[in-house]
């Protein structure tokens, strides 16, 4: 049982690692893909080298004018951009340049001087010099199939989905039922799809707000990499099979919980973020439901142990989110988000501390409810005390440093806490030694 739990945890971790590696590896591949497009009329190798050294704007058909290039310090073409995935779309569909224009002389020492033929366009040409930099940043809104997996991964907040799915797996593994692999896989996939759908709809609703916050300004809908219609269609294509899989592949209770959670996240939490601070409590419930789903998938019913697990996730959300929101107060205020950290800062810190202490209490309740053995609260005490200590520091100091410490602690506290629970899982009642179950 322990081995299975560890395997599934490491498999999930491996998936996340794989996704991140792919994202890094894809960038040079796209660059090569660009080179492979030499066949197309509008991209030639001359363009490649030419554009590498200068920006060209054709002011009239005669190719007589040229904007002074700004020397690019970076050796490789297009790597001056922050992300390589934009590099491919940098090349505009320009008319092929005649060799005559390529050989026009440049004055390397002058900055933004413009060689013009005497035409009436002179007065506008100086303004064009500064515009070409901006023009270069315009991108065609054309969806490329190879970009789609990456875009959809970001749209569905794949890392958050992975976390949600791992809490569901923990709920499944901790439930007092024999570990059933097919059921587990169906729950895993179904919950993952439901989470993808919910996250996509959340991003669909929040485009202008995301644009205005540093944390979220690179999301796919904000950058125009995908249309709202496609985002909604993707969400529907995830939600329907996801909920169906949970309802008919696992059990109706799990399906109902999944559907309810999607609704809670998209239709309650997301709009409520801009109306009232109650959104944080609703969001905590959203986070608490996945382990409940894991439990109901394994046992088919909601019992005390399920609610304990849900309670643990619910309480964890507060130190996690309240600490995160402490550093985002300016963005929240400007963007119109109603968060405790802005409107009720004392409450924000008090609630975070309160729930750190609740985690200690709930780890003591775990053996009382037959979820774990009595070893668990003992071995979990160090990490629980540590997060409570950081919660107390945050409460007392109320500064950015203590909020960051608490936030980062919460990131490793939860997986470790769940892992410890798994290792101390109460063995099955028929006198099994508590060894790994098939």
């Amino acid at each position: 049982m322990n081995i299975i739990a560890k395997r599934s945890a490491s498999w999930v971790g491996g998936c996340v690692w794989y996704l991140e590696r792919r994202a890094l590896q894809e960038s040079p591949r796209r660059f090569l893909h660009l080179l492979r497009n030499v066949n197309q009329q509008w991209v030639t190798f001359q363009h490649f080298n030419f554009l590498r050294h200068m920006y060209v704007t054709q002011l009239n058909r005669s190719f007589n004018q040229q904007i002074k290039p700004k020397p690019e310090p970076v050796p490789s073409p297009f790597l001056e951009k922050a992300s390589l995935d934009e590099a491919k779309t940098e090349i505009y569909k320009m008319r092929p340049l005649s060799p005559a224009s390529l050989s026009l002389s440049r004055k390397p020492n002058e900055k933004e001087s413009i060689e013009l033929e005497p035409t009436p366009v002179i007065e506008g040409s100086i303004a064009v010099g500064t515009e070409t930099k901006e023009e270069k940043q315009w991108k065609e809104m054309k969806l490329r199939v190879d970009d789609l997996p990456g875009i959809l991964a970001r749209l569905s907040k794949i890392k958050l989905t992975a976390l949600v799915v791992s809490t569901t797996s923990a709920g499944f593994a901790l439930a007092p039922a024999p570990f059933d692999w097919p059921c587990f896989l169906l729950t895993f996939v179904g919950t993952g799809l439901a989470s993808c759908a919910a996250n996509s709809i959340n991003q669909f609703f929040e485009v202008p707000f995301d644009s205005n916050m540093n944390r979220t300004k690179n999301r796919p809908l904000v950058r125009g990499q995908i249309s709202p219609l496609l985002a909604v269609s993707f969400a529907a294509c995830c939600a329907v099979p996801g909920v169906a899989l949970l309802t008919w592949g696992v059990n109706p209770l799990t399906g109902a919980l999944g559907l309810f959670n999607i609704f809670l996240y998209t239709c309650c939490y997301t709009p409520l973020k801009r109306i009232s601070i109650a959104n944080t409590w609703v969001g905590a419930v959203v986070g608490a439901i996945p382990p409940l789903m894991g439990w109901t998938a394994a046992t088919g019913s909601l019992d005390a142990g399920a609610f304990l697990l849900g309670g643990i996730l619910y309480s964890w959300q507060f130190p996690h989110f309240n600490a995160l929101s402490w550093g985002l107060r300016e963005d929240y205020s400007r963007g119109g988000y109603c968060m405790m950290s802005v409107t009720h800062p004392d409450l924000c810190r008090r609630v975070a501390l309160r729930h750190c202490l609740a985690l200690v209490a709930m780890s003591a309740a775990a053996p009382a409810l037959d979820v774990t053995t009595w070893t668990f609260p003992v071995i979990a005490l160090p990490i629980n005390l540590y997060i409570s200590y950081l919660g107390f520091r945050f409460y007392r100091d109320a500064d950015r440093k203590s909020s960051r410490k608490l936030f980062f602690c919460s990131l490793w506290h939860l997986p470790l806490f769940l892992l410890l629970m798994l290792t101390c899982k109460r063995p099955a009642a028929q006198g099994d030694a508590g060894g790994p179950q098939s």
């Binding site: 366009v121 506008g124 202008p208 644009s211 709202p228 109306i275």
Partner: protein, 192 residues
């Protein structure tokens, strides 16, 4: 705006140079549309052969990315309605957020000034650096600003949700219309 006119002429010439053939830019209309936006006028013109919309860098004031909409030759009434709705929403959004962000900056400056004066400090330290308040002192301002703009945000949220749904709904309709037309044409070809 006499100073803008020569620039505008140059801009129109630039657009015409690009817009012969495929890209129907309608520069006059584009010029009007651009003048309606409160922040900087974008001088971008997409390349001639492009048949897609183009999206630009985030605006300096509103942080929203402007979209340059492509007008196809055979644009249907539904497609035109969608494009106009999107353009109008874009302008409306641009206006709101540019105003919001500028107001935020102005009021923040005012708040910092008043707090520094109350403390008896100069606006600039001896080194010449601008004096600032720390995050805890700014917290009062953030709270104040949020509650002051609450009603404004409520109206904005409601309108934004409506527009977002309408745009997506029309996008769906346009997509269905295009599929239907393609199927219709295929059927005609097979009959012929």
């Amino acid at each position: 705006m006499a100073a803008l006119r020569p620039r505008r002429r140059a801009l129109l010439r630039l657009c015409r140079a690009f817009s012969s053939g495929g890209c129907q830019l309608a520069p006059e209309r584009g010029g009007e549309r651009r003048d309606a936006a409160p922040s900087r006028v974008s001088r971008f013109c997409p390349p001639r052969k492009s048949c897609h919309d183009w999206i630009g860098p985030p605006d300096k004031y509103s942080n929203l990315r402007p979209v340059h909409f492509y007008i196809p030759e055979n644009e249907s009434p539904l497609e035109q309605k969608l494009r106009e709705l999107r353009q109008e929403t874009q302008d409306w959004n641009q206006q709101f957020w540019a105003n919001q962000n500028l107001t935020f900056l102005k009021e923040k400056e005012k708040f910092i000034d008043s707090r520094l004066k109350a403390k008896g400090l100069e606006l600039r330290a001896e080194s010449g650096q601008k004096a600032t308040l720390n995050a805890e002192e700014m917290a009062d301002f953030y709270k104040q600003f949020l509650s002051k703009n609450f009603q404004k945000h409520m109206y904005y949220n409601r309108d934004w949700y409506r527009r977002n749904f309408a745009i997506t709904f029309f996008m769906g309709k346009v997509a269905l219309e295009r599929i239907w037309n393609k199927l219709g044409l295929k059927r005609k070809k097979t009959i012929n």
